[in-house]
Structure formats: C-alpha cells, structure tokens
Symmetry: C2
Subunit: 234 residues, 2 copies
DNA sequence: GAGTATTTGTCCGTATGTATT
DNA sequence: TAATACATACGGACAAATACT
C-alpha cells in the first residue's frame, strides 16, 4: 500500500506532535530549515511548506536571520458575564498580576460620558495599567468609573484591584453588559508598553460593566497583544 | 460661568456628532486640518488634538498627503451560544449575504481531526466562502464538517446556507461550544479577498459547534476585517 | 563598529503524477 | 485520447535580516 499523504503534511504532523509533546518548548528555536531538510531527507522547500502550515496554525513564527520559534500557546482569556481580569490568568494556570500606572480623577469626555450614562464634564475616576502573565505583558487597560464612587482611587491603590475597590465602594457585584472586540495595529507607545513591534496586531476590547441595578459602573478599554492572548467565548 | 471643557474636546465632540449624524459620510474626506482650524478659529494643533481623539476611537483615519477619512462604522457581529452567521448581519440592519467559493469532501488533517474528534484521514466536508455586508467583504470563513453527514455538500450548495444544510442532514440544532479570538495580520491572499492591504489587522475566530448531544459538528475558522467588524459579546 | 557566517524570504527553473476538461 | 491545469517535490541563486566574532 503506497502512502499517498504528501511529504510536507507528514513532516508538518511530525513537527506539530513534537511541539505539542513539549519536545520543542515555547520560546525556543527549532532546527533550521537546512537541518530539518537533512533530518527528513527532503528538499528545503518541502520543509518550508510544512513550516508554513505550522505558522498558519499559529504554532510557530519565523524570524528571518534568526530562525523559527515555537510560540507560547496564547493565554486563554475567558469572556463571560462575570469575568474578572485578575482571575482569568490564575485560572489559566499562569501567574497573573497587573500594575497600575495611572490613578486620577478628572472630568470625563464625550465618549466616556455616553458609555457611563453621565453628562460631559462629570468627574470620573481613571485607572490605567498593564496586565502581566508570567512577567510578560499581555494587555494594557484603561478603566473609567463614575465619580460618585467616593474613595475609589484610594481603595484601588491600596488593594491593587478594581474589583476589590468596587466592593469597597459598595458595588459588591457587577456584570459585563457588552463587549466589543476589534482588531487594530499597535501604535508606537502601545508597542513599547506591550513589548511588541509597532504595527503588531492587537485586540481592542471595549466593555461596559453594570451593577446589579443595571447602572454602568465601569467603562473599560483593553488592548491585548494579539499573539499572546486569545479571547474565549462560551 | 466659564466653560472649562478643553477646546479640543469641544471640537472633537462637534466633529463626532457631525460624523454620527451623517453630515460626514463613511469613506468621504473631512475638511483639511487647516480648513477646520479656520472654521473653529483655533490653531491647527488644536484641531490635530481633536482629530487624534477621533482616530483613537476608530472613527477616522488619516492618510498623509491625502486627508482624514471617515471610517465605516464597524458592523456589529454578535457572538452568542446560538449564533448563525447569516442572521448576524441581517440583525445589524445590513444586507448580509455570503458566497461559497469552495465545496468539497476530502480527508482531514491533524488539526481538523482533533477539533472534530475524528482520526486523521477521515473524510470531512469543506466549505469556504466570503461574507459580504452591503456588498463589502467583511469575513472569510472555512468550515469543516464530519463526513458522516451524507449529502451535506449538495444541501449546502442548493440552500446556500450551512445551517440549512445541517438541518437537512438531521442536525436540527447546534450550539457554539467555544470560540477563540486572536488578532493577526492579513496575509496577501486574505488581503486580496477582503479588499484590505496586506498587513491590515484581522480578527481570527476559531469556533467549534456541537449538536444537541455534545458531538462536534462544525469546526469553523473565520477571518474578519478588523476595521469593518466588531465582535460583540454579551 | 566592522566583517563574516548563519538563517529565512523570494525568485528563477525543472520534473513528475494526478485530476479535470 | 489528448490537452490542460494543478499539486507536489527538487535544485539553485540571491537578497535581507540577524547573530557572532
């Protein structure tokens, strides 16, 4: 019985298995195209065809002059009605932390006013920061909360958690009213903060969270490193 | 009472309103920075600050040497447990259609086998196509379905609908088991099909749909034009 | 900083088997 | 059957980015 599966598919399957069993670990380099061609006894182009398949599936990424690297499997980031950022990464088996880079109270602009059902110029609390998974930046966030929540900023600074700070302000529970997700390209500053090249793909999510009574309590925008995160729905 | 809202915010709000009321239509150019500066009686840099705000919000896009253009409002694409592609765009008040570009049955590869709980080489039906909203391409999709669904391809061709074809094969209802969303850059071919430049941001969603008994019936991958679609959760 | 070797990306070509017309 | 198109596989050459000395 002749084997009719193309060579490149067989090679791709072999490499895929070796990545998934951990023989080639995330972040490490796999052998060069020339080395793989020698190992499988095929032409370099045949190896390239297989590698293209892996890259298309998001398993590897080639850097010219450097080699082909195994990508970390994107951190799953569940999106549900009752999702807390800090819990997500913990659930994914990663050490998830975040750093607040800005905490202030100021008048809101038109967009923020619309999202939070306020009128322009009303005071809002602003929290900006950076989410890290295993010490690697995965997301930038900017949360805007209505100014009626007195003492929110201090609570956020002390507890280093938006959820805990909301609880301290009497908002014990809140749910995700809606989330919009679009793809953008990283700006220079976003790229610098997320340690991505400018022009790298990022996911922008815009979410409005409401309290038990349906009143908006948080207008959050988050920019995820597109290749380090996958948002999971359902 | 003195007005304490910054000039640039007032200008941004004015332009935002003019875009949203349709005074400036998607795809068209808004007046030059110099013209806007003259209109509002401010320095060009103040106008630039306002325009930067609009661009950051995804309303406009500046092209050096050409001008500032109004972007089409992204089509909202709800993601729920029981979501049908064709219904989405209709619900968004747009004329949503899709064209199938490929219909065939062939042995599955390793990744498809894992997603559908099959073994590699088992026959699967493949449906590829293009989703259009108002005659503008918004998404590419590739659905893979287990080969045990006899007559699926013919049903899909006749009815031009995956949902209807599944119903014809006895799968009356199916739900979204999980969806993963990541951001990628458009490849050359994706860009050509979606009428986007290569390197434009796209959303890749990978979904597995299951029948009532929890058996996988569809492994669908969709690539959305990142700036023409926003996925809505909740 | 300069120079060299390595590695991937892209192009040229050739040949063969398979499926479609 | 013949012509055509397509996928697969191999070989070579050079460019571009990177790594290393």
């Amino acid at each position: 019985m002749t084997d009719r599966t193309p060579l490149w598919q067989a090679i791709a399957a072999t490499l895929r298995a070796e990545i998934e069993t951990g023989h080639y670990r995330p972040g490490t380099r796999i052998p060069s195209e020339a080395a793989l061609a020698a190992r499988f006894g095929v032409n370099r182009h045949t190896v390239r065809h297989a590698l293209a398949d892996l890259a298309e599936a998001g398993l590897t990424h080639a850097r010219r002059g450097a080699g082909v690297f195994v990508l970390a499997r994107p951190t799953d980031y569940p999106l549900g009605r009752r999702v807390r950022f800090s819990q997500n990464l913990a659930a994914a088996g990663r050490s998830g932390t975040h750093r607040f880079t800005r905490l202030e109270t100021r008048p809101c602009d038109a967009g923020e006013a619309e999202a939070l059902a306020l009128t322009q110029g009303d005071p809002v609390h602003l929290v900006e920061g950076l989410s890290l998974a295993d010490d690697q930046p995965v997301a930038l966030f900017r949360s805007v909360l209505p100014g009626r929540l007195e003492g929110f900023l201090e609570a956020a600074r002390d507890r280093q958690s938006i959820t805990a700070a909301l609880a301290a302000c009497g908002v014990a529970d809140y749910t995700r009213a809606s989330t919009r997700i679009t793809a953008k390209l990283a700006s220079a500053t976003q790229g610098a903060l997320l340690q991505l090249p400018q022009g790298a793909p990022i996911l922008r999510s815009v979410a409005v969270n409401v309290d038990g009574g349906g009143r908006p309590v948080e207008y959050g925008r988050t920019w995820f490193a597109g290749d380090r995160v996958s948002l999971v729905v359902g």
